[in-house]
Assembly symmetry: C2
Homo-oligomer: 358 residues x 2
């Protein structure tokens, strides 16, 4: 549970083990409250599966991989805490897994990790073992693998960044963004990050801004509606963000707003690159197969800031809050993964490619 390499980027969010873990003494999942960071660096202690599920639903933990890890740790915690005959534990864990899988539908990481952790449990139970330890070890190995995927994806992506680049990003592109920027910096490339604040949760104004600042890289904040204007006056050279799910035919889904920026980038001839981590979801053929989460509209009627929450919209109106949008492959220049950089229409090749970091 150490950082993946000695030269991990000096940003808290670059190493998942620093923001989420299972504490064996506390018998709890401990997770950074991403709604408050970096205004305050608060860790929340989750002692039940329901607390874990709600922490995912209420955005205490956000981002496809991090929330999947927290769910996996929650499932392992449940296996330890269940007071049941070994024969019944498998049935209970399946029920708990369904609760965790129902938290957020769009990102695919959760859909991979929870069934895999359940399989680990069932294998252990079949062998007459307590499933807790194998499950915890499995989820921790997945976090370790995720850190390595982020490192490789970011190092590959650094090739897409040139000295002097003004890079637009949206929401928080996570550990791979940190690795990309840190690698580029160590290669002597000076990069200026333009971050969209990302309403309603301001992940860009908080999480991305903090990560970039922690690495000593220039950051300029804009609101979500300004990207096209900055492209029109030459203040954005490329657009780079992450994806919550990538389809086999090269569609990507990401935090709502991404499509708006991608269309603007296409209009102005600026490349759009996707940090694709460990590649496409083998179970999702095309964009129409991605379920887009619609969240409580009251979240867009408010702004949460350092000193509390204020209501920013009038009462008595409707609101609509789709949390993600889908960008088609023809608007994407490349998808960068831990196994290299792919054209979006060739992203299926990910499955037959070995990582080739030179």
């Amino acid at each position: 549970m150490t950082t993946p390499t000695p030269d991990t980027p000096p940003a808290l969010l670059a190493d998942r083990f620093k923001t989420l873990r299972y504490d064996e003494d506390e018998r709890a999942v401990i997770v950074l409250d991403r709604r408050k960071y970096p205004f305050t660096t608060e860790f929340v202690t989750l002692r039940t599966v329901e607390e874990v599920a709600q922490a995912i639903e209420n955005m205490t933990v956000q981002g496809g991989p991090p929330l999947a890890y927290v769910a996996g740790l929650g499932l392992a915690m449940a296996a330890r805490d269940l007071d049941a005959a070994p024969a019944r534990i498998g049935v209970y864990l399946e029920r708990i897994a369904r609760r965790l899988l129902a938290t957020r539908p769009t990102a695919d990481d959760l859909n991979h990790l929870i069934p895999a952790a359940l399989q680990v449990a069932q294998d252990a139970i079949r062998e007459g073992l307590d499933p807790f330890r194998p499950m915890l070890d499995f989820v921790n190995s997945e976090i370790q693998r995720g850190n390595e995927v982020s490192r490789l994806c970011g190092i590959h992506a650094a090739r897409l960044v040139n000295d002097g680049d003004q890079v637009l990003t949206h929401c928080i592109a996570g550990a791979a963004l940190c690795w990309m920027l840190w690698t580029a910096k160590n290669q002597g490339k000076k990069v200026h990050v333009i971050g969209c604040e990302t309403r309603p949760y301001f992940q860009g104004a908080r999480l991305t801004a903090a990560s970039v600042q922690e690495m000593g890289i220039d950051f300029t904040l804009i609101t979500d509606g300004m990207s096209a204007h900055l492209m029109s006056i030459g203040r954005i050279d490329k657009f780079i963000c992450a994806a919550d799910r990538i389809t086999l035919d090269g569609h990507i889904t990401n935090k709502v707003g991404t499509l708006t920026h991608a269309i603007a980038a296409h209009h102005f001839g600026k490349p759009f690159y996707v940090l694709g981590y460990d590649g496409p979801d083998p179970h999702t053929e095309t964009g129409a197969d991605i379920p887009i989460e619609e969240r409580d509209p009251s979240e867009i009627f408010h702004a949460r800031g350092e000193t509390g929450t204020v209501r920013t919209a009038i009462n008595g109106i409707e609101g609509y809050y789709p949390a993600f949008d889908i960008t088609p492959p023809h608007l994407i220049g490349a998808i960068c993964t831990d196994r290299g950089i792919f054209a979006p229409n060739a992203i299926r090749d990910y499955f037959t490619t070995q990582s080739s970091l030179s």
Copy 2:
């Protein structure tokens, strides 16, 4: 100083006389605080030209025509309050006019109204008259004319709206939007308005939402990054907003974000119509001639809501806040004015056209 017709839309912002005026007893300009409306309906009393200038700069009064009217009333107020020999008043008023003209550079209404009011003053002085009364009468006649322009523009624009339309709008398109929606409603057309909240000041979530609600028309709030997604799923049929300035070759400038929506609309084949009020600025040839105001970045580090202000961005970062962007004519379907509906490339015809409301 009554409403322009008995069937004025029942929205406070549809009649400028209801939100700004010179009070002769108070010897002050009284103006609705648009930063707080509709959370509270507060009127601010401005007793000096400097207070008027600051109310324009700090967004107490916003929107090209309203802020121009307030500046004009401020100039008239100054003429009354100046304690100087008649021969000196003209010189003083010119200096005051320069202060008022320097408040906000992008919208053209201020650039028309202040020199015209100054001319009225100079004509009066030349005839040995006190310039106050002619100036006040002139500015009030301009407000009256602006109300009539809004009415005609909105009635023409109602032709661009069909029964069942889902109309995206951005920021606050003002009195003409009210007239368009109210006319369409009275024609039996059911329109659903999708309003972008419009960061950082949330004009969409407050001013537009309130205006639409006051007319009993459906309104759904979205954040500024959602427009492309809603177009992609068929929930937006057209995009209609105002313009702070229109050039002779059909470029328009409007609140930043407009270009983002216009590009998305073009991408998805949805028409973009501009409420152009009294037409292009005869002194601005093309988009490159429009000065884009850059405001204090601290305004995008915060969110102002019903119960106060919260800081939404971390400290120690840069921010960039261009208040407007420029949309070129090839992205615009039509510009609607008080004299009818023009193709953007033919907007020069405005000057040779008579209003022809049938």
